[in-house]
């Protein structure tokens, strides 16, 4: 009688070792981890969003352009001071650069999507409105009229 009992008429087929399955899974996992992009740009300004209750979600994230306004992060304060600055893409910019930025963002979109572009204003809650007004006026001049004041959702008080 065979060691395993039961089947004795058939020849035993060696089972496929499943020990390497996890390796395959991990390889796939790493592939996805490497290829997915978490964040396109590095934050150079501190943005603590204000709180609001009536927020809506940004429907098309790919059709939005981000403008960050806030005080520079700690290690850049020595160079750029603590006054509120505008960050476009990866560097500090001034209000005059917004025009080029919007034009570049528009160019990156397809013709049909351009009218749906939303400018996402991510502004720190301690920033004064002066700089925000300047940005808004510049956006009006570039006729990028759809804007969103980014805010954190809070529950009902």
């Amino acid at each position: 009688m065979s060691k395993f009992g039961g089947s004795n008429s058939k020849k035993d087929v060696p089972g496929i070792s499943s020990g390497s399955l996890s390796d395959i899974v991990f390889m796939l996992l790493f592939f996805f981890m490497v290829t997915t992009q978490l964040r396109e740009t590095e934050n150079k300004v501190v943005v603590k969003l204000p709180e609001a209750t009536e927020v809506v979600k940004l429907e098309r994230k790919d059709l939005s352009a981000n403008i960050n306004i806030g005080t520079p992060v700690r290690h850049l304060q020595a160079m750029f001071g603590t006054d509120a600055r505008i960050q476009l893409n990866d560097s500090f910019k001034t209000v005059d650069d917004i025009r080029d930025f919007i034009a570049a963002e528009r160019d990156a979109m397809s013709e049909a999507d351009r009218s749906y572009m939303t400018v996402n204003l991510r502004v720190d809650e301690d920033v004064r409105m002066g700089i925000v007004s300047d940005v808004k006026q510049e956006l009006r001049r570039c006729s990028a009229l759809k804007i969103m004041y980014a805010a954190r959702k809070t529950g009902v008080q």
Partner: protein, 192 residues
Amino acid sequence: MAKKKTPQINSSSTADIAFLLLCYFLMTTTMGDQSGLQRRLPPIPDPNQKQEDVKVNRRNIIIVKINSADKLFAGNEAIDVAFLKDKIKEFLSNPKDDPNLPEKEMKEIEGKMYPVSKGVISLQNDRGTSYQAYIAVQNELVKAVNELRDEYCMQNYGKKFLFISEDEQNIVKKVIPQNISEAEPKDVGKKR
């Protein structure tokens, strides 16, 4: 006693199941969801074009002002943010047809006539206003409009605004419009 042998469950596919779950979550999670208050800026007036004076009746406009010390004024009187919503709601709905509050105009929307308030909220701020105060006020204004829409929907459809169909939502949006005008920035008070 003859014990019945139970076959072992093949566990080699548990890794696949875990992997499928992982894939599912990878696909469905959105990183850093963005949310906020959506607005439409008014277009820059064309300098070549003659500006036609849009006479807005005094009663149809409420000026909400935030000064550089984050003090709030609505219609020339100081007010706390907590009371702004009710004031705006009263202003927009004008339940008693007060001659000092905005008039209503019969408008045709989708073939039916609705009374639509002509009220406009003009939001003014100073360069020294903090963004936090500005957003708090914006939030209250949106909340007032949203609550009016909800009340209207409860009366007419028996449901809240979120739960009625998209066509009905579009009608309600026109019946109770969100007329918030963000005025040109003004320099009142000290600069910063």
